[in-house]
Structure formats: structure tokens, C-alpha cells
């Protein structure tokens, strides 16, 4: 039974790391900070949650703590991204020329 859970956990863990790898690729390829934050936030959230789930399958005793860590990630990750994005915008970070519209700059002024 535990051997099967180990295999399943391993697979889930690997799928989590695949998302983290794609996130890293996104950070590298995206043209400006806002798109980079997008790539970073989503993939680290799902990637970390899958990694935690994989560990939970391998070590069922830890699952409650892992669940709480997952919840903590789920609530802090988007918040920190939002604050970073806002700070970047206020600080006049460069936006890629592909950007089609910026309502925030229209309402609040564009420092860049």
C-alpha cells in the first residue's frame, strides 16, 4: 500500500516541479515585470501545492501540516504579487510596447 502511495506521490511531486520549471522559463521569456509576475505567481502556487501533495502521499502523517502550509501559500502568494505589481507600476517600471491599454495609468497618472 505504502509502496503504491510512494509511486503516486513521486509522480505528483514531479508534476509539481514541471510547473515550477515552466514558471522559471516564463520568468526568463516574458518581456516586462508584470508579465513576469504573472508567470511566477501562478506556477509557483500550483507547483508548490502539487509538491506538498506529493510529500503528503509519501508521508501521510504530515498531511495536516502540509495542508496548512498550502493554505498559507494560497493566501500570501497572490497578495505579495499584487503589492509587487503595484509598486512596480508606481515606480514607473517599463511596460512592453505590446501593452494595448493601461487604465491604471489613465486614472492615476503614469510615472514611466
Amino acid at each position: 500500500m505504502q509502496a503504491m502511495l510512494d509511486i503516486l506521490g513521486g509522480l505528483v511531486l514531479v508534476s509539481g516541479t514541471v510547473f515550477l520549471l515552466l514558471g522559471a522559463l516564463g520568468l526568463n521569456r516574458m518581456p516586462d515585470i508584470f508579465n513576469r509576475i504573472q508567470a511566477g505567481t501562478k506556477t509557483t502556487t500550483l507547483g508548490t501545492m502539487l509538491t506538498l501533495a506529493g510529500i503528503g502521499l509519501m508521508q501521510p502523517d504530515w498531511s495536516m501540516k502540509l495542508l496548512l502550509i498550502g493554505l498559507f501559500m494560497l493566501f500570501t502568494n497572490p497578495l505579495s504579487s499584487q503589492v509587487l505589481a503595484r509598486a512596480a507600476h508606481r515606480g514607473g517600471a517599463r511596460k512592453t510596447p505590446e501593452t494595448e491599454v493601461d487604465r491604471y495609468a489613465e486614472d492615476h497618472g503614469d510615472p514611466s
Binding site: 516574458m30 502568494n77 497578495l79 507600476h89 505590446e98 487604465r103
Partner: protein, 165 residues
């Protein structure tokens, strides 16, 4: 809601987290948890917790379950879409920052909405200002307020409206 009620809800949330994190019901760890929670409640009694402004009705609990299911589905979808964008050689993006409006009135409901939007396909909340949210969108579909609100906000709002109002 009164000050005492808010403090009580924050205290319950904290002590629940403490108990789950410890995984034991031993008296000594419980007492330490109560002490720590009381100190935190004293300093942060004006801030939000999950339970503040939550409506304790059967409908709200059902909405919470369907919200979680919807959220997880959107999270997976957003990752797959991002993976496709990142892996494509010509990086097909057309970003923009749009403005949307929410019907939600409660602070916690708005906070959860902003967080959910950040974790769902191609959108990132930049600023939350009263009922207005500014959202960075990797694959812009609609630049006007109504269109963007419908595409980004309404899926979550349906659930959160029942939970928090």
C-alpha cells in the same frame, strides 16, 4: 458586527490553526496556543480573518465548497494556459491593464476576489480601490469595463456574493 465578535472570530481562527499545526490535544500545548492567540488578537483585533464577515448559513457553506472547486479548476487552467504561452516560440501575448467593477461590499469578499483573480488564467490584480480593481491581463480580450468585468470577475463573484456579500 461588534468588536467583541470580531475578536472572538479571530481568536477561533488562530486557535484552530494552532491545534491543526500541532496535531495534538495535549493540555500544555493548548494553553500555550491560547496565550499566543490572545496576544495576537490584542494587537490585530481590527484586521481581517477568514471568518470575519462570513455568513454562517447553509447556502454560504455550499457556496464555499463550489467556490473552492471552481477556484482549483481555474488555477489548473491558468497554469496550462501559461505553460502553452511560455513554450510557444513566438510568445503569443497581448497584455493590457483593465479596470473592472465588483458588486461585493464586504472587505473580506473583495480581498478574496482580488486574490482569486491573481491566481486565475492570465490575470493579475494590481490595485484594489473600493469597488474598482485594476487588473493586468496577459491575453487581453476586452478593454472596456463591462466586457472585462464579465470575463474576469463574474465567475468568482457568484460564489463570493453568497459567502460574504
Amino acid at each position: 458586527m461588534s468588536k467583541a465578535q470580531i475578536s472572538a472570530k479571530l481568536f477561533i481562527t488562530l486557535i484552530l490553526f494552532w491545534m491543526l499545526l500541532n496535531g495534538t490535544f495535549a493540555l500544555d500545548s493548548f494553553i500555550v496556543g491560547v496565550g499566543a492567540s490572545l496576544i495576537i488578537v490584542y494587537f490585530f483585533r481590527d484586521s481581517l480573518s477568514f471568518l470575519s464577515e462570513f455568513r454562517f448559513t447553509p447556502q454560504a457553506l455550499m457556496a464555499t465548497l463550489s467556490y473552492v472547486a471552481f477556484f482549483l479548476k481555474e488555477l489548473v487552467k491558468s497554469n496550462l494556459r501559461l505553460a502553452r504561452i511560455v513554450l510557444e516560440p513566438d510568445l503569443p501575448i497581448n497584455p493590457g491593464i483593465v479596470k473592472v467593477r465588483t458588486k461585493l461590499k464586504s472587505r473580506m469578499g473583495r480581498l478574496l476576489l482580488a486574490n482569486s483573480i491573481t491566481l486565475t488564467p492570465g490575470t493579475l490584480t494590481i490595485e484594489l480601490e473600493d469597488e474598482w480593481l485594476y487588473i493586468h491581463w496577459v491575453t487581453l480580450e476586452s478593454a472596456d469595463i463591462e466586457g472585462a468585468t464579465q470575463a474576469i470577475v463574474e465567475g468568482f463573484e457568484r460564489h463570493l456574493e453568497v459567502m460574504y456579500g
